[in-house]
C-alpha cells in the first residue's frame, strides 16, 4: 500500500470534559472580543490572555510536570488548540513557544535550559520567535548566512533573520545558523538560544499586505552569546530544525486559520437565503469534518511516539487549500446585501491573510516535495 495510514482517534470522556471546560472558559474570557479581532487567528497578541491560559494548565500541556508542564498527551493538546482557534482566541503571544520551542528545548536542551525556560513557557509568560528565514533563504533553508563563531567566551552571532513573527515581543529566539564550514550541504549548522535582551540585537518592523505589524527583521550585530546558548549539539542544527518544523506542521492551526469567517458566514446566512449555493457550503463542511479527523489522527500517532512526517505534510497541504478556499466559497455563498459591517471586516482580514497560509511553515511546493519523498518518488 502506497498511501500512509490515518487511524481514527476516539475521544475519551476526560477529553470531552476538557473540551467543554476550555469552551466555557473562552465563552467568558472572549465575550467582548468582536469577530473582526477573532479573525486574526493565531496572529492576535494578548499577553494577559496567554498568562490566563497558563494558569489553567493549557500551555506546555505535553511537557513533564518536572518542568512546569502537565504530562498530558498530544491529543489533549490538539483539543485545547482546536477550541482556541475555533473561538478566535488571541494566542500569538505564547504560540511559537508552546507549539515548537518548548518541545525542541525538551528534546535537545540541557537540563539547565529546560529548568530555566520550560516552566515559564508553561506559565504563558515567556515568548519565542522563530529564527529560520533570511532575505536570501526562504524555502532553501540550507542557504542561511547567519553565523555564530566560537570564541573563548561562547559565540559571536552575526546575520539577519526575516519574517520573525512577534520578534518585537519575544524573550528568546531560536536561531538557525552556521557554526562551521562543511562540504555537506546540510552540515555545519547549529541552533542557538538567543536572549533578546542582549546588546547588538536590532528588531525592525516589516508590515504585511494589510499594513499590520507582526513580522520583523532581526539583525544580530556581533551579539556575544554565552557558551550555554547552544541548543542541542553543534553541527546537528539541520536535523534539529527539521524536527522543529515537524512540530510546526502538525497542528490544527493548519486548517482553522479562516474558521472565524465560517461562523460569520453562517451568522449572516441566517438572515438571508442560502440561494442555490448550498452545495458550496455543504462541501466546505464536509472537507472540514474530514480534515479534523485527519489532524486528530496525526496527534494520535504523536501520542504513540511515531513521527508522522508524511501524514502531517498531507494534512497541512489539504488544510492550507481549505483555509484559502473559505473566503472564495463565502463570496459565492453570501449575497452582497446579506453582509453586515462586522462580516465585511472579518472577510477582508481573512482575504488578506490567506496568501500566507500556503507559505508559512513550508510552502505548498516544499510540502509536495516532502509528500513525494514519503511516497518513495524522490
Amino acid at each position: 500500500m502506497t498511501l500512509p495510514t490515518f487511524p481514527l482517534e476516539t475521544t475519551t470522556p476526560a477529553q470531552m470534559a476538557l473540551r467543554e471546560e476550555v469552551r466555557a472558559f473562552l465563552a467568558d474570557a472572549l465575550v467582548d472580543l468582536p469577530a473582526r479581532e477573532r479573525a486574526r487567528s493565531w496572529v492576535g497578541f494578548d499577553a494577559d490572555f496567554s498568562a490566563a491560559l497558563g494558569q489553567r494548565g493549557w500551555l506546555g500541556m505535553t511537557l513533564p510536570t518536572a518542568y512546569g508542564g502537565h504530562g498530558r498527551n498530544a491529543v489533549d493538546r490538539h483539543i485545547v488548540v482546536e477550541e482556541l482557534l475555533a473561538a478566535g482566541a488571541p494566542v500569538a503571544a505564547h504560540w511559537i513557544a508552546d507549539r515548537q520551542s518548548a518541545p525542541l528545548i525538551l528534546r535537545h536542551g540541557t537540563e539547565e535550559q529546560r529548568q530555566t525556560i520550560l516552566p515559564r513557557i508553561a506559565a504563558g509568560t515567556c515568548f519565542f520567535g522563530i529564527g529560520m528565514s533570511e532575505a536570501t533563504s526562504g524555502s532553501d533553508l540550507a542557504s542561511v548566512r547567519t553565523k555564530a563563531e566560537k570564541t573563548d567566551d561562547g559565540y559571536v552571532l552575526n546575520g539577519t533573520k526575516l519574517w520573525t513573527t512577534y520578534g518585537h515581543k519575544a524573550h528568546y529566539m531560536i536561531v538557525f545558523c552556521r557554526t562551521s564550514k562543511s562540504d555537506n550541504r546540510h552540515g555545519g549548522f547549529s541552533q542557538v538560544l538567543v536572549d533578546m535582551s542582549l546588546p547588538g540585537i536590532i528588531v525592525s518592523p516589516v508590515l504585511d499586505i494589510a499594513g499590520e505589524h507582526h513580522f520583523n527583521e532581526v539583525t544580530f550585530d556581533n551579539v556575544a552569546l554565552p557558551p550555554d546558548a547552544l541548543l542541542g549539539k553543534e553541527g546537528d542544527g539541520w536535523a534539529q530544525v527539521i524536527s522543529e518544523l515537524a512540530f510546526e506542521r502538525s497542528g490544527p492551526d493548519r486548517f482553522l486559520s479562516s474558521y472565524v469567517l465560517i461562523e460569520e458566514l453562517l451568522r449572516c446566512l441566517k438572515r438571508a437565503s442560502a440561494g442555490s449555493e448550498t452545495t458550496d457550503l455543504g462541501r466546505m463542511i464536509a472537507r472540514l469534518m474530514v480534515l479534523r479527523q485527519m489532524s486528530l489522527s496525526v496527534a494520535g500517532r504523536l501520542v504513540r511516539g511515531e513521527q508522522p512526517v508524511l501524514a502531517a505534510a498531507i494534512v497541512k497541504d489539504l488544510g492550507a487549500l481549505f483555509e484559502q478556499d473559505v473566503p472564495e466559497i463565502a463570496r459565492r455563498v453570501l449575497s452582497d446585501d446579506a453582509a453586515d459591517p462586522e462580516y465585511a471586516a472579518v472577510f477582508q482580514r481573512i482575504l488578506l491573510a490567506a496568501p500566507s497560509y500556503s507559505l508559512r511553515g513550508g510552502t505548498r511546493e516544499i510540502l509536495r516535495g516532502i509528500i513525494a519523498r514519503g511516497l518513495g518518488l524522490r
Binding site: 500500500m1 502506497t2 498511501l3 500512509p4 495510514t5 490515518f6 487511524p7 481514527l8 482517534e9 476516539t10 475521544t11 475519551t12 470522556p13 470531552m16 473540551r19 469552551r23 482546536e82 475555533a86 473561538a87 474558521y259 465560517i262 461562523e263 453562517l266 451568522r267 446566512l269 441566517k270 442560502a274 448550498t278 452545495t279 458550496d280 457550503l281 455543504g282 462541501r283 463542511i285 464536509a286 472537507r287 472540514l288 469534518m289 474530514v290 480534515l291 479534523r292 479527523q293 485527519m294 486528530l296 489522527s297 501524514a311 498531507i314 497541504d317 489539504l318 511546493e365 510540502l367 509536495r368 516535495g369 509528500i371 513525494a372 511516497l375 518513495g376 518518488l377 524522490r378
Partner: protein, 334 residues
C-alpha cells in the same frame, strides 16, 4: 482497538479477491464470499451472524473495490442488517435494499432477494421480494456493472416495520459507496506509483520529474482524505440507530469528500498514465469508471452537500457550527 479480527478479515478478503477483477457478477466468487461469511458479518450471533463491528464488516467491501471485483457484497450486508433490525431472518444469496419507486439497483438481475423499503405513516415498511428476471429493466453504469430498475409495485402488506428514519438508510447506502471509492483510490494510487516508477521519458522515470511528483502528491492527499472520510462514516455506523445524527452527518460528509477525491484521483491518474491508461487493455479504466459511477450513485456531492448545508443553516445554538461539529466526534465505547 483490537485489530486481530480486522486483520484476519482483510487477509481472507485479499486472498478471495486478488485477480478477480471483472464487470459481471461472478456466481462462483459469490459462493466463496458466502462461505467466508462476509454477508452476515453485521448480524449478532443470535441472528445467525458474526457480531462484527462495522469497521470489520465493511473491510471486505473495501478490498473488493480495490481489486475491481463486481459483487453486491456491501448491498447484501446492509440488506441483512435491515432484516435483522426488522426482526426477520437473514437471507442467502446476493441481495440489496430497494427504495419503493424507480431507482437503479446494483446487480438487480442477479439478485435472489430484494429488501424493499417504503415510507409509510407506520414507519419504514420492509418487504422481502424475490423478483423474476423479467421484473427488471436492465441498464449499466459507466463501468459496465448492472444497474437495473425494478418494475414491480410495492407489496400491499409489508413483512415488518423498522423504527428508523429513511435518511439513516440512505446515508448507509451512501457510506457504502464512500467505502468503495476509498478502496479504489488506494488501488489507483498504487497503480500510478508503479507505472510512474517504471515508465521512462526524457531518459528517466516519470516519477523523477518534479511536475509528475507534485501531481502524485496531490493524488495522495485526496486518497488519504477519501480513506479517512469513509472510515469516519463506517465508525459512526455502529451507533447509526441510537445516535443517528452524527452517523448521517458523517456519512454525508464521507460521500461528498470521497466523491471529490474520486474526481481528482481519476483525473490525475489518467494524466500521469498518458495514452496507455486510456486503452481498453490497461486496467486503469476498470477503477476510474467505477469512481465516476460511484461518486454519483446513492446521492452525488450536490445531494449530500445540501443535506450538510441545510443542517448547518438549521443550527440555532447562537449560530455556532463548531459545537455541532465536535459533537460528531467518535467516542470511546463506555
Amino acid at each position: 482497538m483490537d485489530d486481530s479480527t480486522y486483520s484476519m478479515v482483510i487477509e481472507s478478503a485479499e486472498k478471495l479477491f486478488s485477480d478477480r477483477s471483472g464487470k459481471n457478477f461472478d456466481p462462483a466468487l459469490w459462493a466463496a464470499v458466502e462461505e467466508a461469511g462476509f454477508p452476515l458479518a453485521l448480524l449478532s450471533e443470535d441472528q445467525g451472524g458474526y457480531g462484527m463491528s462495522a469497521r470489520e464488516a465493511f473491510a471486505p467491501v473495501r478490498v473488493a473495490a480495490a481489486h475491481g471485483v463486481a459483487l453486491p457484497l456491501g448491498e447484501t450486508l446492509l440488506a441483512n442488517w435491515v432484516l435483522g433490525e426488522a426482526g426477520l431472518d437473514p437471507i442467502e444469496g446476493p441481495a440489496a435494499l430497494v427504495w419503493d419507486g424507480k431507482a437503479a439497483v446494483p446487480f438487480g438481475r442477479f439478485l435472489k432477494t430484494v429488501v424493499q423499503l417504503c415510507e409509510t405513516d407506520a414507519g419504514l415498511a420492509v418487504s422481502v421480494l424475490h423478483p423474476r428476471a423479467e421484473d427488471w429493466q436492465p441498464a449499466l453504469n459507466y463501468a459496465g456493472e448492472a444497474r437495473d430498475t425494478l418494475t414491480v409495485d410495492a407489496q400491499a402488506k409489508p413483512d415488518a416495520h423498522i423504527a428508523c428514519a429513511p435518511v439513516v438508510l440512505r446515508a448507509a447506502m451512501a457510506m457504502l459507496r464512500a467505502v468503495q471509492i476509498a478502496g479504489t483510490t488506494d488501488a489507483v494510487a498504487d497503480m500510478c506509483m508503479s507505472y510512474c516508477n517504471e515508465r521512462e521519458q526524457f531518459g528517466r522515470p516519470l516519477s523523477k520529474h518534479q511536475a509528475v511528483q507534485h501531481q502524485l502528491a496531490v493524488l495522495a492527499t485526496h486518497g488519504c482524505a477519501a480513506t479517512v472520510a469513509a472510515d469516519m462514516a463506517v465508525a459512526a455506523f455502529d451507533a447509526a440507530l441510537d445516535q443517528s445524527e452524527p452517523f448521517v452527518l458523517s456519512a454525508a460528509a464521507a460521500k461528498v469528500r470521497t466523491a471529490e477525491a474520486a474526481t481528482a484521483v481519476s483525473s490525475i491518474s489518467h494524466q500521469v498514465h498518458g495514452a496507455i491508461g486510456f486503452s481498453e487493455e490497461y486496467p486503469l479504466h476498470r477503477l476510474t469508471c467505477r469512481l465516476w459511477s460511484w461518486r454519483d450513485e446513492d446521492g452525488s456531492e450536490a445531494h449530500w452537500a445540501k443535506h450538510l448545508a441545510d443542517w448547518a443553516g438549521s443550527l440555532h445554538d447562537g449560530g455556532h457550527l463548531w459545537p455541532a461539529l465536535t459533537a460528531c466526534d467518535l467516542r470511546e465505547a463506555t
